[in-house]
Subunit: 422 residues, 2 copies
């Protein structure tokens, strides 16, 4: 499924070993105490699978292939993970249903996304953990108005709400008999892709959500059975070197990984950028790159700029629908004939390895994650791996990995701009 190679290798003395063991115990405690809920999402989805199956089987529009679009109204953790999985696996999805995302309150973007949307062939899924996200509720109101959706009619069958139990959105959905799925209270937004947040829309548009979960479950079991200890060592490296190497680049060699990179950026940045218990600002800065495109952009800075970065490469072993560079010799353009008769998959993977080697030779720490092929199970595994890695670094920094107090100030300022007396 996933292979981990060219690992970061910190020096680990006796104290370091103890620190790592101690961190593992803390992770295990977070998991067992159920104070942090995402750890056990892969174990607890049986009920959710059943709910989703029931929803799909009872939805006449879906059963009769009348649905063309599923529009997700949600931002941040409510959309990024789903977008990542859909964009990576779309090439092998044979469903005719598009997944659309209404995230930002940008009027041009809202108009553009909705231009071909008809309410009769669309399911709108409103996703908000708190149930009161300003972008999400505003866009939802706009949709109700634009499509004249009557909340007191059976048109509410075109709506789904995914939110915390008893949130304002939950209560609203109950009142109008809108289908609803709950987000466990102990699962934070950026750790929620393997909950109803990701699984409901992904199942509706035809992805094998059981395979996603099985991939995550496999990694969960192996890690807690101490069969994936490299993750602990890597987290320790980030922790120890955080001051010298505060920028962590994820260099994914596949165009479709750009949203996965964004998911990683949210997970890493928002989880680890915190005041620690000594009231000191700590954090690691994530950067997402796509290869080979960003070899023509950010790479120069990695190789000859300040040595403040680590780079993790992601390589796709088998692109499955690979195509060949034909044996055409273009007059005058002779220097590139060596690639003829090779596949594009071979080219991009050779570029990945050549870049990895040249970055490493420039003295920059690198490691490599090889994904055998793009499948639900492998993505589930990769997602869970990154969630665990984030938790582990958070435990080592001794911070609260799961909150985001820094963004509250801006929210209050926003209200004051509209409500004079606020």
């Amino acid at each position: 499924m996933l292979e981990f190679d060219k690992k970061f290798e910190p020096k680990i003395g006796k104290k370091g070993k103890e620190f790592i063991e101690n961190s593992f115990s803390k992770l295990k405690k977070e998991k067992d105490s159920e104070s942090v809920g995402y750890y056990t999402l892969p174990n607890t989805t049986t009920t959710l699978f059943k709910q989703i199956e029931d929803y799909i089987q009872n939805n006449e529009d879906l059963q009769n292939n009348r649905i063309k679009n599923v529009a997700i109204i949600g931002i941040g953790g409510s959309s990024l993970g789903t977008k990542a999985i859909d964009s990576i696996l779309r090439f092998k999805n044979h469903s005719d249903i598009n997944l659309l995302f209404l995230e930002n309150g940008d009027p041009i973007n809202i108009n553009y996304t909705l231009q071909n949307v008809d309410k009769n062939d669309t399911i709108f899924i409103v996703i908000s953990k708190s149930g009161t996200t300003i972008e999400t509720t505003s866009i939802f109101k706009y949709i109700l108005d634009r499509y004249k959706i009557d909340l007191d009619s059976n048109e509410t069958s075109k709506l789904i709400a995914i939110t915390d139990e008893d949130s304002p959105l939950w209560q609203f959905a109950s009142k109008y008999n809108i289908s609803k799925f709950s987000i466990p209270k102990n699962v934070g937004g950026r750790f929620s892709v393997l909950s109803a947040v990701g699984l409901v829309p992904l199942a509706i548009v035809g992805y094998d959500i059981k395979a996603i979960i099985s991939g995550a479950l496999k990694f969960e079991e192996e890690f807690f059975a101490r069969k994936q200890n490299h993750l602990l060592t890597k987290a320790y490296y980030y922790y120890k070197k955080g001051k010298d190497k505060p920028i962590n680049v994820l260099f994914s060699y596949a165009s479709s990984f750009s949203y996965f990179n964004q998911w990683y950026v949210q997970l890493w940045g928002e989880s680890l950028g915190k005041f620690d218990k000594k009231n000191k600002k700590v954090g690691l800065t994530p950067v997402g790159l796509v290869g080979s495109v960003d070899q023509h952009s950010f790479l120069q800075l990695v190789i000859q700029g300040p040595e403040d970065k680590t780079v993790t490469f992601i390589k796709i072993n088998d692109f499955e629908t690979d195509i060949k560079i034909p044996d055409i010799r273009l007059e005058n353009i002779t220097g590139v004939n060596y690639i003829n008769n090779h596949t594009f998959g071979e080219l991009i993977n050779a570029q990945c390895m050549a870049t990895l080697e040249s970055v490493s030779e420039a003295g920059i720490p690198v490691d490599l994650i090889t994904v055998n092929n793009l499948s639900e199970a492998n993505l589930g595994c990769l997602i869970y791996y990154y969630e665990l890695l984030t938790s582990c670094v958070g435990v080592m920094f001794d911070i609260n990995t799961y909150d985001q107090p820094g963004v509250e100030f801006g929210k209050k300022k926003l209200v004051k701009k509209f409500v004079k007396e606020a």
Copy 2:
């Protein structure tokens, strides 16, 4: 057009003033000596305008509306600027011609991009400064093969080459009578969007390229007439604070700016990440964010993470096609009613200002660029502003802003992976 506000304010003593004046003189010298060509692109386009006009008027397929797609085969500086302008201005473009981008040698992406492309209604533009970029030549060969384009027939009228005069691609195009446009030798890839690289495809799909150039020209004239001195002060701030604030965030409050951010990332990262003349690694790390989306992601790290960042906000004053949040009061979801009857444009701009204020109050240096509305002229101006800013910081760091020696190592390694004796 553009307003610059909440500027970074470095302390500038007598020496600092001299240093800034000295840097300005160096920029002017680069410009006047024509060693760096992008400075004068806005002054030298009359001939190019004529060539492009002739091309369009003599292309029967274009004149008879038979073209549905313009596919750009190019990577890095050969595509990013064009993609940035097209994605931002697409909402007011009434042409029916799509602009497609074949950048990466990712087989899934190539297949996906070409799925609805028919050679009869498509113009393929091959763009490569050197004329030998491996991704570009490989994809070009694939297209020749996939669409059975006969180079000895009049089918070459569907091809355009944009490259340095006398490059291998230039010679190839001459041999087969393929329309060609030259990139001035003294204009680097990442500074080339205002040359034929950007202007040819943008004109074909209906953008007002004269307005783009006029916006750039206005900023050029004002800057060199010393009417935009804030740019020099800002560059000085980056230079002086580079060690403490090595990460420069561009936080653009419009969904369509994500490719503009990528263009900025290439320009900033690849230009400024260099060995300086004392053989020391210098450089500034660019990060592109989109508001309000990334308030739910990277913002927490900015506010409570290490104080190693500066943030520039971009705000669009008038979205032109703005829409209103209707006055709907949703049962139970009452906390957000304050936004009813306001427009989405007002919401996103208030979010921009609320975030700017809270970032600033957290002790992070911020500044603000306000773009009055999204137009060709304003984008030309913004592009030229960022190019000048990059040059100015480069002059202060005393580096070669215009080369990229660090990426050559990987290219050599790549060849060795395929050619045993290389």
